[in-house]
């Protein structure tokens, strides 16, 4: 017997959790002497008020769809991958190396190659913690966290010693050639007579992210591999009984996770910066955690949550500009969302369960 109807579990609880997170965010804005209503208006205006704003919002959304899906794949195998940041960093290196390798004639050739580069580098970076967890029992949360720091040092070293343009002051690689530039929304929508902002970084990667979300759904709920990943995640002992190899599933799930993180680099490195810069992910790997939790590890939820965080990111930037509220406001909201949707679930769930139980009893009586 279930205590609650399914829709309440899938929609009502996350909704209340998010509202609570936003309530406390508003409280904080009020506490630092700003008007929460004005803040929200500024954010909405900044994120959706112009094609430029929308372009930025969707650019961030693209990042977060990739990392959210990445964290969720691992989570279906009950692996908590907090190494997304490092995997995105390595993915960026992979994409940059591909883009710089030859003078690409056309983006349609460069993109698939860059996707492979990013995915392979991200997956490889996830492979080591996965192997250590599966074979040596090293706790994946700690190892992936360590690998973030190692990735930062490693990519910094490569960038400084091998990719940096000699004589340049800034720590960044050379710019990619024109053949490796991805079509932006401006270029993609112009044939349809839509005049999308030229400056906004949203690009074709957004569509690839949506495809990835669909692929995620097929993988997890329609394929044998997905069935095995979910089985292993729900019960390792049962998985062993059924002949599902724990080592194999741990490594595959983590490598898919790492590959999805690595794929994010086609958006930020190839699509936006068009060069490799230091600390390119800007925390997107961590936001993936909040996105996956909030989206309940389901692609539809993840896309919606990514859109919400894309809005927060772009709106937050506007807030900094117009209201002098630091960008770190987003980090606070992110923390609140993770806390309420991820850790304080029972606080919302317990009273709701009681409520539904009472409702059922009155109905029966």
């Amino acid at each position: 017997m279930q205590a609650m109807p399914k829709w309440a579990d899938a929609v009502l609880i996350p909704l209340i959790s998010i509202l609570l997170a936003f309530f406390f965010s508003g409280l904080m804005i009020w506490a630092i002497g700003k008007d929460p209503v004005v803040a929200i208006q500024t954010m909405i205006q900044g994120a959706f008020g112009s094609t430029n704003g929308i372009g930025y919002t969707l650019y961030y959304t693209t990042n977060f769809i990739f990392t959210g899906l990445a964290i969720a794949v691992a989570y279906h195998a009950r692996l908590f991958n907090i190494g997304g940041e490092g995997q995105v960093m390595l993915g960026g290196l992979g994409v940059a190396l591909v883009c710089l390798a030859i003078d690409w004639p056309h983006w349609a050739l460069a993109l698939p190659a860059a996707m492979i580069g990013g995915a392979v580098f991200g997956a490889a970076w996830a492979f080591i913690p996965a192997y250590l967890q599966a074979k040596r029992g090293s706790h994946i949360v700690i190892t992936t966290m360590m690998f973030n720091f190692i990735a930062s040092a490693f990519v910094g070293y490569i960038l400084l010693n091998y990719l940096k343009v000699p004589g340049s002051m800034s720590t960044e690689s050379a710019g990619f050639s024109a053949g490796a530039h991805l079509p932006t929304f401006h270029e993609m929508l112009a044939p349809f007579g839509i005049n999308f902002s030229k400056n906004a970084p949203a690009n074709i990667s957004f569509l690839i992210a949506l495809l990835a979300a669909f692929g995620f759904w097929v993988l997890i709920w329609k394929t044998r591999l997905g069935y095995e990943i979910r089985s292993f995640g729900a019960s390792e002992t049962a998985a062993k009984y059924a002949g599902i190899n724990p080592v194999r599933i741990t490594i595959i799930a983590m490598m898919i996770s790492g590959a999805l993180c690595g794929l994010m680099a086609i958006n930020n490195v190839m699509g936006e910066a068009e060069r490799l810069i230091d600390n390119a992910p800007e925390g997107a790997g961590f936001i993936g955690i909040a996105v996956a939790l909030m989206g309940r590890n389901h692609p539809i939820g993840i896309v919606l949550a990514a859109l919400l965080f894309g809005f927060l990111y772009q709106g937050g930037a506007e807030l900094t500009f117009w209201e002098a509220i630091p960008r770190e406001l987003i980090v606070v909201i992110q923390g609140l969302v993770i806390m309420f949707t991820g850790a304080l679930d029972n606080m919302v769930r317990a009273p709701l369960e009681k409520l539904f139980l009472a409702l059922r009893k009155t109905k029966e009586a």
């Binding site: 913690p129 190892t143 966290m145 490693f154 770190e328 923390g335």
Partner: protein, 320 residues
């Protein structure tokens, strides 16, 4: 390398190891009670900010210390609320704490001081003074011993001595008191503690209180050392302390050695941009990453196996 250089590196090791040691012991108490504390970083950062802010406003680092401990405690209690009272995921709530601290310190700091998240510089009584132990000047002329005593042993701030003292105290509390027995028990098998008539919730909260206080000391130390708070100034020390804790196999004396080792690595990394061994140059980035690499090696069980407390990571729910 002459003796004085070595002494200077060792002295800097002690300085850098102090916050690590305090944070590591904080983690030791909470993890021994069965709460995996990935939120150490956030507690550390919150304490650094509040102590820096209050020390600047009041001009007293001791009042700053109180505020730092209070901030860290508040974070600890939030961790407890999520992971003990509401039986939420310890790791996820810890991660949330880290984000909250990273964001709140800057947002509030900007609102209070409008310096882009920094606090104004601390000076005078706004920082901890160095304690010169007796005879440090008189003995400084004695060869080898004199400089060692003067440079290395004497001349640190109060918190360094407190941190070192905290090691035997922690050992004694854990292994020689009723509270220690119960604390270790609750990290191994909370339902045994529950059925023995001892409150699991109370014990775990107490452990988090101790962890909060220790992180508060560590954070205040950081703010005092750097003469003020700077955005993200904990710079991953909470994670390094967690790594040191694994290295130390959750034992107080080992924690001292582990944090000194990590402090030494950092000190060497700070002093030399790159280290040449013959023709081979070790890049500075490698030195920065070394504590993390070492921890991964330890975790992989290549150098001895680290067995964590058995009930760690799982909220206590009475089974049915």
């Amino acid at each position: 390398m002459d003796y004085l250089t070595i002494l200077q590196i060792l002295d800097s090791t002690v300085r850098l190891a102090t916050p690590l040691l305090l944070t590591c012991l904080a983690g030791l108490f909470s993890e021994r009670a069965g709460i995996v504390d990935i939120g150490l970083e956030g507690k550390l950062l919150a304490a650094a900010f509040m102590s820096g802010a209050v020390a600047y406003v009041t001009g007293s680092i001791w009042l700053g210390l109180l505020a730092g401990v209070a901030a860290s405690l508040a974070f600890s209690m939030l961790h407890g609320l999520a992971s003990i009272t509401f039986k939420g995921d310890q790791l996820i709530s810890g991660v949330a704490l880290n984000f909250l601290a990273a964001g709140l310190t800057v947002v509030i700091g900007q609102s209070w001081f409008a310096l882009g998240g920094r606090t104004p510089s601390l000076s005078g009584n706004g920082r901890f003074g160095e304690w010169n132990l007796p005879f440090s000047d008189a003995w400084s002329k004695i060869p080898v011993f004199g400089p060692t005593y003067n440079e290395l042993i004497s001349g640190h701030t109060a918190l360094t001595y407190i941190a070192i003292l905290a090691v035997p105290v922690s050992w004694w509390v854990l292994y020689r008191t009723r509270f220690g027995l119960r604390l270790r028990a609750v990290g191994e098998n909370p339902s045994a503690v529950d059925t023995a008539g001892v409150s699991v919730v109370r014990l775990r909260y107490l452990a988090l209180v101790i962890a909060g206080v220790l992180c508060g000391l560590a954070g205040t130390y950081l703010a005092s050392l750097a003469a003020g708070f700077v955005k993200d100034m904990s710079a991953g020390r909470g994670y390094i302390a967690l790594a040191a804790l694994i290295f130390a196999k959750w034992r107080p004396w080992y924690a001292l050695s582990a944090t000194l080792l990590f402090g030494l690595l950092e000190a060497i990394g700070n002093r030399y941009q790159s280290i040449a061994i013959g023709d081979f140059v070790i890049p500075v980035q490698f030195m920065q990453a070394l504590p993390y690499i070492l921890t991964v090696v330890i975790l992989a069980g290549f150098i001895g196996k680290a067995i964590p407390p058995r009930a760690g990571g799982t909220p206590y729910v009475k089974e049915r």
